[in-house]
């Protein structure tokens, strides 16, 4: 059960929404959350706190390094104590982990970059390097507003700790947070589609009164709710916040599939308007796609799940009926 009652959740959600609406910047965000008493919210129910925070970040199409906190939080007992700020280097599928990766926002030169590296025997370990060891290049291809960058280094680093299961834990926590963010992006995109099709008239009636349109919207809604429930169940599936690598993987697959459904339908019901850069829709499309790719895209994870099942893994049920 949640340690927060419904009224509190509603109130906190509204406040966080205002925070994201008001502005950006890590410092601004941290201060505003602090004023909200965020620490207490997290203590009361870490799963709901994370879900609210990331859903709202997605809804606002904001970008930040909040995800780093979620991941680093799992590594508290593994990494040596931090002397200053830290950032996470996220792996890019296909690239050698540790030397090339994605940073989710700007870092200072003395920020410690936490990365995961794999030795020739497949043993994972954590490395720390100053940001100044990396060269970065803004990722502009798909989602130019995400604020992410591609970081590379040729500097060798010494492993500071064996990753063990902490990599699974950290990745699972990260995936659940990203799932929440994707859901937020989708919910906002659906709202845009609903308001557009309710306001726009063709043939003397609101577009949303045509079944071809309203049925697409209801399919999007059903997909979002299903993703939302899977996420809640994934948090509930494990006693500890962020645990349950399997559940997190399932939740992220569902969120990835959901964004594919919602975005495709969203663009279609906006008609030609959805194709222009003047409509906000393209921003949701590209952000959702970028988030889907982070820490494993849904197609890739679905293959992983299938392979594990075929390999004899007992399917931990995310939802028990």
């Amino acid at each position: 059960m949640s340690g927060l009652d419904l009224d509190t959740i509603t109130e906190v959600t509204a406040s966080v929404r205002e925070v994201f609406a008001a502005g950006t910047g890590a410092a601004v965000l941290a201060k505003a959350l602090d004023e909200l008493g965020w620490t207490e919210v997290v203590e009361a129910d870490p799963a709901i706190a994370t879900t609210i925070l990331f859903s709202e970040q997605g809804r606002a199409l904001a970008s930040s390094r909040l995800l780093d906190d979620v991941v680093l939080n799992q590594l508290g007992s593994v990494l040596p104590a931090a002397s200053g700020s830290r950032a996470v280097l996220y792996p890019r599928t296909g690239a050698t982990p540790g030397t090339v990766g994605i940073l989710l926002g700007a870092v200072e030169d003395d920020t410690e970059i936490v990365s995961m590296a794999m030795d020739e025997n497949g043993n994972a370990s954590w490395c720390l390097r100053p940001a100044s060891d990396f060269t970065t290049e803004a990722i502009t291809g798909f989602d130019p507003t995400c604020g992410w960058s591609l970081a590379r280094t040729s500097t060798a680093a010494t492993a500071v700790a064996a990753a063990g299961t902490s990599w699974d834990d950290a990745r699972a926590a990260g995936r659940l947070a990203i799932t929440a963010e994707i859901i937020g992006v989708c919910a906002s995109a659906l709202e845009l589609a609903v308001s557009h099709t309710s306001a726009r008239h063709q043939y003397g009636r609101a577009l949303a009164s045509f079944q071809a349109v309203r049925h697409q919207l209801s399919e999007s809604h059903a997909a979002i709710e299903s993703a939302r429930n899977t996420l809640a169940a994934a948090y509930a599936a494990s006693p500890e916040h962020g645990g349950g690598a399997w559940a997190a993987k399932v939740a992220k697959v569902r969120a990835g599939q959901t964004q594919a459904i919602v975005m495709r339908r969203g663009i279609q019901v906006l008609g030609a308007m959805g194709l222009t850069l003047e409509s906000e829709m393209h921003r949701y499309v590209t952000r959702a796609a970028a988030l889907d790719a982070l820490l494993g895209g849904h197609a890739e994870l679905a293959v992983e799940i299938g392979t594990e099942l075929l390999g004899g893994a007992a399917p931990a049920r995310v939802v028990t009926i």
Binding site: R92, T93, G94, I139, G141, F142, L150, R200, H201, Q202, Y203, G204, R205, S209, F210, A212, V213, R264, I267, Q268, G271, A272, M273, G274, L275, T276, L277, E278, M281, H282, V285, A289, A290, A293, G297, A299, E300, V303
Partner: protein
Amino acid sequence: MNDIETFTAEVRAFLDANAQRFPGGEAHLAWGKGDDHTGYFSDDTAEVEAAKFAAARSWQRTRYEGGFGWITGPSSYGGRELSPVHDLVYDLLEAEYDVPDTGVISLIGLGMIGPTILAHGQQAIKDRYLPAMYRGDAIACQLFSEPAAGSDLAGVTTKAVQDGDVWRLTGQKVWTSVAHQAQLGMALCRTNPDVPKHKGITAFLVDLASPGVEIRPLRQMNGGAEFNEVFLTDVVVPDDHRLGEIDGGWRVALTTLMNERASVGGENEGALARVLSDGFLASLLHETGHGADPAARRRLAEITADLTAADYLNRQTVRRLVGGAEPGPEASVSKMMWAQNLTRVAHLAAELVGPRLTADTGAWGTYSWTELLLGSPAFRILGGTEEILKNILGERVLGLPKEPVAP
């Protein structure tokens, strides 16, 4: 030798004399050859775009001088007075040659607006503009859609008010492709607000150099800007530039839309010809290391079957038209399937390419698929949304009842 065979020989001689034939069928489209563009829409720079338009106009002039500038048009305007089938035969033959893509001037201007001017324009206007258009000198665009009149075209609100022997036009048009390169626009305007909406529309030919015409680019989600918004502010149009009767514009617009080319053969020009050529997707499967991946193979097979069947439908349509049959509902079916199939191709390619789709690593045939992917949502919208096409098939072909009028 029948008439089509004679014509074929004539076209072949013209093309051989004026252009290079691609060697070896589709070899120039193979994996790794030439550029790796996959897009239907361009995101060219202004210079590149200008060069393409210049090349298109110059090739149109060559065609015109060779007697193929307006195959179906009257001889008084340089046409040949032949059938649409001859036109189709010409296109199919020309696809074997390395010639500039003239789609930007021919699809709308020459294919749709030219025949409309011919059918509804006044004599002086026909004499003045038609030869110029088919010689490649003047480009025409449509000023049809408006912010509030998309699928429901009869809802146009751009106003035209008569003032002596001129009309004054005020309003906003959107989704006008090539307007920024065009000299002429065919505008649908509201001339009578007091009658049922499609009875109060008049069509005009507008000189886009007139004072009060402002053209702004509209950026699409793929980053390109082939479309424009056109703002008309008290633009003066002489009455002899009116097409058809006053308040008879709906009929004129139908002529234009009926001339929207049956989607046979002509659509898969340029980059799409490569994407859809034999074996290209199979190469992608192998090049991305999915050659033995059963799930990927199955999806490729499904798409290949549907693409091939759609191609068979096009071939049969051509055969039927050549045999003298009337065009049927094939065009709507082809358009719908084309859009759905290309969308599936885009998503399959994205999945095969994987994360290299999200940033340009410079590897041939990887990031370039973003062009097709980002263009794909438009396939099911432009030229009649999928929903409208289904209404047409449901109502006009299957005879299902129309949606009741809104209360």
